[in-house]
Assembly symmetry: C2
Homo-oligomer: 206 residues x 2
């Protein structure tokens, strides 16, 4: 498939969220204009985004809400369950374990690891925290889709390498470092410092 821009994919996620809202409200069809309004973009943008994947609307009418939602889930690959391991049982890790949106979208945490012996053995939401030294032995033979790094900056690259060695192709990285990984591994960064600095810039240059 033709290369799709990151920004397009992110908007598709947003559209899906809006469609689910509309669905809850019992709205059956929606125009590109209504979607755009809800998402702070333009109707042309919405139609262009969708057009990369097919044509899902009816001229003169708009899009059938449940159908388009289904198509977007398909496009985004949300039909299935993703098995996730969490590296780091700190505060953010614990917030993630409890986050319902995680489970709701089919992302299931199947293992948690930490270096701290004080945390190893603790039970978290039905899972036992394991020592990170057991990473390879515990995950051996299991298929894992996504690794979530919630560790200090210093530990992140080494753990990323180990995840890659285990065959994991997607990493969500909360550590404030730029990870080096092979081309076929996707990394998304959640970097608080970066967001704050972008706000700082915006506040300073107005």
């Amino acid at each position: 498939m033709r290369k799709i821009a990151e920004s397009t994919v992110r908007r598709l996620s947003l559209y899906l969220r809006f469609l689910e809202e509309f669905e809850e409200q019992g709205i059956a069809t929606v125009s590109s204009d209504a979607l755009a309004l809800r998402g702070g973009t333009t109707s042309a943008q919405v139609r262009k985004d969708l057009s990369f994947f097919g044509s899902f609307g009816k001229r003169g009418l708009g899009y059938a809400v449940p159908e388009l939602a289904g198509r977007l889930r398909e496009i985004l690959g949300l039909g299935r369950e993703y098995r996730v391991v969490l590296l780091g049982a700190g505060k953010i890790g614990s917030a993630l374990v409890q986050y319902r949106g995680f489970q709701k979208r089919g992302f299931t945490i199947v293992a948690i690891f930490d270096v701290d012996p004080g945390k190893v053995g603790k039970r978290w939401n039905g899972l036992t925290v394991s020592s990170v030294s057991q990473l390879e032995s515990e995950l051996k033979g299991q298929h894992i889709d996504i690794g979530v790094l919630v560790t200090p900056a210093e530990a992140a690259q080494e753990l990323a390498d180990r995840l890659v060695a285990l065959g994991i192709k997607a990493i969500l990285n909360f550590a404030p470092v730029q990870l080096a990984v092979p081309d076929d591994v996707s990394v998304k960064n959640v970097n608080l410092a970066l967001e704050l600095e972008a706000l700082s810039y915006a506040l300073t240059n107005r």
Copy 2:
């Protein structure tokens, strides 16, 4: 000043982080190529990014590490303290309060609010959690730079409106909603669901 792209600002933040690493290692000068290598970009990109703000390098030599770091801090507005209020005393909120990177860059949490009466009155890192109904009365007369929303989706827009009414011009939003705010207010979103779905897309379409 000419409008600077969001992507440029984010890269400047990254460069600053790398420069700080280099500084720690006692490296005195760095070329655009070395910076690019560290950040996974190109030397032309680095030079172009910097060129929007001036010319900070020496031809044939590169950039003086401490000087460029200083300039970037200036550009990003990191010379001063930012006063931050936290709305939502849940797990993520508590992780943020303890996050040292926050304080280190000059972002000081000066107040925490929550709706839950069970949380109000608790002491967190030297701050007492207040009832969100006291938001206006407690912040009246104080200057606040940044509001951080760590609330359920349903509560976020109303609280954003109240922050805006208090004159706050920058919001960091962890709630999975698209906030509507006036043009002169900057919002940065940290949306976990979006990141996961982008990974899901990447895993699906390879």
